[in-house]
Amino acid sequence: MKLQVNGQTRSFEENDATIARLLQQFDLTPLRVAVELNGMLVPRAEYDQTKVHDGDHIEIVTLVGGG
């Protein structure tokens, strides 16, 4: 399946992967990110259950330096 992740098209072998699996693929620590799926915030507690599908838009954000 193809996903739009942080504005880039990314291909994944697994269909119906979970957010948790996606974060694992990118080697991201779940506690250090927040995730939006198609514009809606996905609460951390739901990463294991929330599945992503072909064509989904995903934003994975973190905290960076700012004023």
């Binding site: 915030l41 973190t62 905290l63 960076v64 330096g65």
Partner: protein
């Protein structure tokens, strides 16, 4: 002096300096500058995470360096040019800070900016976003321009603090319009003397911080003035002194400005009286 506490919403702090975490040349300098500043609150931004291993190694993560056990983290909505974007950003930062168990999870420094050249706040969008975020249960600290009328409207909308700009973000121009900051303070505090007002943005050097505090501000938020100084850690120390000096001077009460001199040494009983008038 350093024991004097004040409140912002449900928070209680002693340091009145808020320091940003952006623009430092390296993370070690940031860590040392934050320490030297004496701040208890640091600001951060929310951005897309780095996905590729190579970029990750190169960029590093703020969270590898920032001690989120020590500082209360105040996330901003910088880079948002409309209320919808600001609300999204606030929700994401809340999720992040809850994950980190940081006490700053429920508050947000709202910025709704108008354009990239001036980075001045969009007053209409700012007010709209304030209402939306208050509705969603956020404790909202609102970056705004130094318009006293707008400041009052933002407070009435439920902001827990109004943060008028001294001058444009990162400009180092200092407090361009002290008369307006004074009016903001008067309007925001007239029936509510403890309502926190924090001067945000534009600080170039230590005296700018003191001036804001001498006007009666409750605190100052800065980033570039320290991060881009030739010696950030030394400048952070200067800002730490300046915030305390300004606060003390405000509490002590400055003398009114007079047109003529007023001798500090007695003019009587001098050994050789002056013949001039």
């Amino acid at each position: 002096m350093s024991d004097e506490t004040y409140r912002i919403g449900s928070f209680e702090f002693t340091s009145r300096l808020f320091v940003g975490t952006g623009k430092y040349t390296d993370p070690e300098t940031m860590v040392r500058a934050l320490d030297a500043s004496g701040c208890q609150v640091v600001t951060v931004a929310v951005r897309r995470d780095v996905l590729d291993a190579q970029d990750k190694a190169q960029k590093g993560s703020l969270l590898d360096y920032l001690d989120t056990q020590r500082y209360t983290v105040l996330p901003n909505t910088a880079g948002c040019f409309n209320p919808q974007g600001a609300v999204r950003s606030a929700r994401l930062s809340r999720e992040l800070l809850e994950g980190l168990r940081n006490p700053g999870a429920n508050w947000v420094k709202l910025e709704v900016l108008a354009d990239r050249k001036t980075l001045l706040p969009d007053p209409v969008g700012t007010l709209e976003a304030t209402r939306a975020l208050v509705e969603l249960g956020f404790d909202v600290l609102v970056y705004t321009n130094d318009d006293p009328i707008l400041a009052r409207r933002i407070k009435d909308a439920g902001a827990i603090s109004v943060m008028p700009a001294g001058s444009p973000i990162g400009s180092g121009q200092g407090i361009l319009n002290p008369a307006n900051i004074r009016l903001c303070l008067e309007y925001l505090k007239e029936d509510d003397p403890d309502y926190p007002v924090i001067v945000d943005a534009g600080v170039g050097t230590a005296s700018d911080v003191s001036i804001a505090m001498e006007l009666g501000a409750d605190g100052v938020l800065l980033n570039t003035g320290v991060a881009s100084a030739r010696q950030p850690v030394r400048m952070a120390t200067a800002m730490n002194h300046a915030i305390q000096a300004g606060r003390l001077a405000y509490l002590a009460g400055r003398i009114p400005k007079k047109r003529y001199a007023s001798a500090s040494s007695p003019l009587q009983d001098v050994i050789a009286p002056a013949s001039t008038t």
